[in-house]
């Protein structure tokens, strides 16, 4: 596929495309910056923007340890987490939609989120009653690392299953069904555990399913950033295969694409992104499905070399903005991020989709 080949049904003249795309990406970058600054500036504790900026740049009043703590230990890690979550989920969603040629696919399509949920449920709901959970504890993992480890293991298990099947199954639709069935089975197991658990354990698990951007700090944040970075790198490397896959697997094969190898690469990238994000922040819905559509609508292209960075930026901006709103300006309460992304994101997508015809995902 030649680098500049326009999408077949592009309504925009070829000559107008380049500048528009460049402007689009530039605007998105600006949007991310603004959302990032806003996210750090806003919070339940009112701190003047200039004070926040001074603390961020290292000129803060050293005596004001409370403000320093809030800016450096709470808001900055949270905003960085939002950045990683937004970009990672959006990109993995885009990859899934193209791979499965299905506009409804998302990071959860492979059953990864469900796998991570199973790992977390194992720790939270069966602690004490199941040998495996206490065995993990004996290895020295405790607290939040234990949860992260369990979620990663759950996601990795499902990924291994999907990869093994991907090697045998030629049809992507079958793979999609496999993912859905895996999600269904893990969901049933979690329900069963919930049924036999004490209310306070269920409460803990419910809180996890609401999703949270806070609490990912220090070494956790470093691990999350590294894994998401790796996943994004793999995704960018798969931009050309993704473009070829848009035309269908047979056509891609005739173009000389090693479909199976590309597919493995794409699944690996998505697994890293969705698995690590779910492990640290819980299942955050909506972003993965919606942002790819928004990006296509905004940039008006089907070229993944532009769509991938575009989705990355838009996803980050969206999650940052949602996090600002989750703080309920002027209130001491925070809404669960999962609720905000869906509550505010869905109308936005509807607006974009209804305002202009969107190219089909596949």
């Amino acid at each position: 596929m030649s680098p500049a080949s326009p999408a077949p049904s592009s309504p925009v003249p070829v000559g107008a495309r380049r500048p528009r795309l460049a402007t689009g990406l530039l605007l998105l970058t600006l949007l991310v910056l603004v959302a990032f600054v806003l996210d750090v500036a806003l919070g339940p504790v009112r701190i003047p923007v200039l004070t926040v900026a001074r603390h961020l740049l290292g000129f803060g009043d050293a005596a004001d340890t409370t403000t320093a703590f809030i800016v450096h230990q709470i808001r900055l890690p949270k905003a960085l987490t939002a950045l990683a979550v937004g970009s990672g989920l959006a990109v993995s969603g885009l990859q899934m939609q193209t791979l499965f040629r299905n506009p409804l696919a998302g990071p959860s399509a492979l059953g990864l989120t469900a796998g991570a949920g199973l790992g977390v449920a194992l720790v939270m709901l069966t602690s004490g009653s199941m040998a495996s959970a206490s065995a993990i504890r004996q290895l020295g993992f405790s607290g939040s690392w234990l949860l992260v480890l369990a979620a990663t293991a759950g996601a990795a298990l499902v990924m291994a299953l999907v990869l093994a099947l991907a090697a045998r199954v030629r049809d992507n639709v079958v793979l999609l069904i496999v993912g859905l069935m895996v999600a269904s089975v893990t969901g049933a197991i979690v329900s069963l555990w919930q049924y036999f658990s004490a209310p306070e354990q269920i409460q803990e698990y419910l809180l996890w399913t609401f999703g949270a951007l806070g609490g990912v700090t220090g070494p956790h944040l470093a691990v999350l950033a590294t894994v998401v970075g790796l996943g994004l790198g793999l995704a960018l490397a798969s931009a050309k295969p993704l473009n070829a896959l848009l035309l269908g697997e047979n056509y891609a094969r005739s173009l000389g694409l090693r479909v199976r190898r590309s597919r493995t690469l794409i699944i690996l990238s998505t697994s890293l992104l969705a698995g690590s994000i779910t492990a640290f922040c819980g299942p955050i819905g909506f972003v993965g499905i919606a942002v790819p559509h928004l990006t296509r609508a905004l940039l008006g292209t089907a070229d993944h070399r532009l769509l991938l960075p575009g989705a990355c930026l838009l996803g980050a901006a969206l999650v940052l903005a949602c996090d600002c709103l989750a703080q309920l300006p002027g209130s001491q309460l925070t809404l669960p991020i999962n609720v905000v992304t869906s509550l505010l994101g869905a109308p936005v997508v509807l607006w974009v989709v209804l305002r202009r015809p969107v190219r089909s995902a596949a």
Partner: protein
């Protein structure tokens, strides 16, 4: 951790962050998802006959009487040779009042209360679904009447544990897992359960149809520790042990008031944060929680002392609590995180909190037994005076220099 169907409500930040409405929602979900047509339960009820408050003279069956001083969730009336217990949610006065008629065994059912459940007194056997109910029986010296519990795991009382070991107690489960067949087969004189008053009548249709009375103990709607403990008078009335409860509860109340006077008069009021956050959410007790009352009576400065929440506990963001925690003198009730290492493993940021720096963290898990069940939620409910003494000793050691902690211990 809280015990079987932990008194869900106004414990606030006491247990694992456990907000009232949500947990009661969860509770109803667990208890009630099998319930049939509970809407019918809310039909208009005739209001209580006026004579309930005017007992006829010289009731032959009453072995002494007791009066309710602190609790607002139930009232106890002596009428003729029987007693009427009315359970109500003080926060929803318009909600249905559930009435129980306590009738001497063999006596005829009194007229005038078509919807009330009849319970024959004195009870000869009792099934308590929550460990708190075991504590009520234990307090009255009636542990041997406990023939069934919700879960063996959550029982701490030594006498009942002995009886469990001897195979004299059966386990009936809770919520949807409630073993109705076992209960019907054993036919205890009463099953005591936790729930919303006015909502739980039809959860137990099977049992009621089989003639097993079910009493809803909603002690957790109370806003003060003494009011909560006073629910023991319900069981006392059921056992005709009014004279025992008058003596024992009054002793607890007197001691509590004595200690509260000490705490409220303390010159310095150290600041306190309560509970642990989960990611972004930190549930803290609101002004109406009995924990806030404990803190007021123990002479503490509590940042949310005057903040009212619809649900009994406030769901705050981590950032809203962190500034308070950073400068607090003490950190109480860290839940399942029983060591400093476990605290820091959950979130390294806690290291910046002053109570962590100065080793002033106390958890209420001293009396946790081998099964992992914490007696704070069991006998603690009946001994608010001891809990208050613990808190006074922690916050003002000079006021009770010889005290030894009984429910709390330092987190190291």
């Amino acid at each position: 951790m809280p015990q079987i169907l932990p008194s869900p409500g106004r414990a606030g930040g006491l247990a694992f962050p456990f907000p009232t409405r949500r947990s009661s929602w969860l509770l109803s979900l667990l208890l009630a998802s099998h319930l049939v047509g509970w809407g019918q339960a809310r039909v208009a009820l005739p209001s209580a006959p006026a004579r309930t408050t005017r007992p006829t003279p010289a009731p032959p069956a009453a072995v002494g009487r007791t009066t309710v001083q602190y609790a607002r969730g139930f009232r106890l009336d002596y009428v003729g040779n029987y007693k009427v217990i009315s359970v109500q949610n003080p926060f929803e006065p318009q909600a249905k009042v559930v009435r129980y008629l306590l009738v001497p065994r063999g006596a005829a059912r009194p007229a005038g209360y078509p919807d009330a459940q009849v319970i024959e007194t004195p009870l000869r056997s009792l099934v308590g679904l929550s460990s708190m109910h075991v504590a009520l029986a234990d307090f009255l010296g009636a542990s041997d009447l406990v023939v069934g519990v919700g879960s063996f795991k959550y029982v701490s009382a030594a006498r009942v544990r002995q009886r469990i070991a001897a195979g004299q107690v059966y386990e009936v489960g809770q919520g949807k897992e409630l073993n109705n067949e076992l209960l019907v087969a054993h036919h205890p004189d009463l099953v005591m359960t936790t729930g919303w008053p006015g909502e739980g009548v039809d959860h137990f249709q099977t049992l009621r149809a089989a003639g097993v009375p079910v009493l809803i103990n909603s002690e957790w709607v109370e806003t003060t520790p003494l009011a909560r403990a006073e629910w023991v008078k319900v069981l006392a009335a059921l056992l005709n042990k009014e004279s025992v409860v008058n003596q024992k509860f009054d002793a607890v109340a007197r001691e509590y008031q004595r200690l509260a006077a000490l705490g409220r008069g303390a010159a310095k009021k150290p600041s306190v944060v309560v509970g642990i956050p989960f990611k972004d959410v930190w549930y803290v007790p609101d002004t109406d929680s009995y924990m806030a009352q404990f803190l007021r009576d123990a002479g503490a400065t509590y940042h949310w002392d005057r903040t009212k929440a619809a649900s009994g506990s406030l769901a705050l963001s981590f950032e809203a609590v962190a500034p308070v925690a950073l400068g607090a003198d003490y950190w109480l009730q860290t839940g399942t995180l029983a060591t400093k290492a476990a605290l820091l493993a959950q979130d390294t940021r806690y290291a910046a909190f002053a109570p962590v720096k100065h080793n002033r963290i106390f958890n209420n898990n001293l009396r946790t037994n081998a099964q992992g069940s914490n007696d704070y939620w069991e006998s603690g409910a009946m001994h608010p005076d001891v809990i208050l003494a613990d808190l006074l000793y922690i916050l003002h050691p000079e006021l009770l220099p010889t005290w030894t902690l009984r429910y709390y211990q330092p987190v190291r």
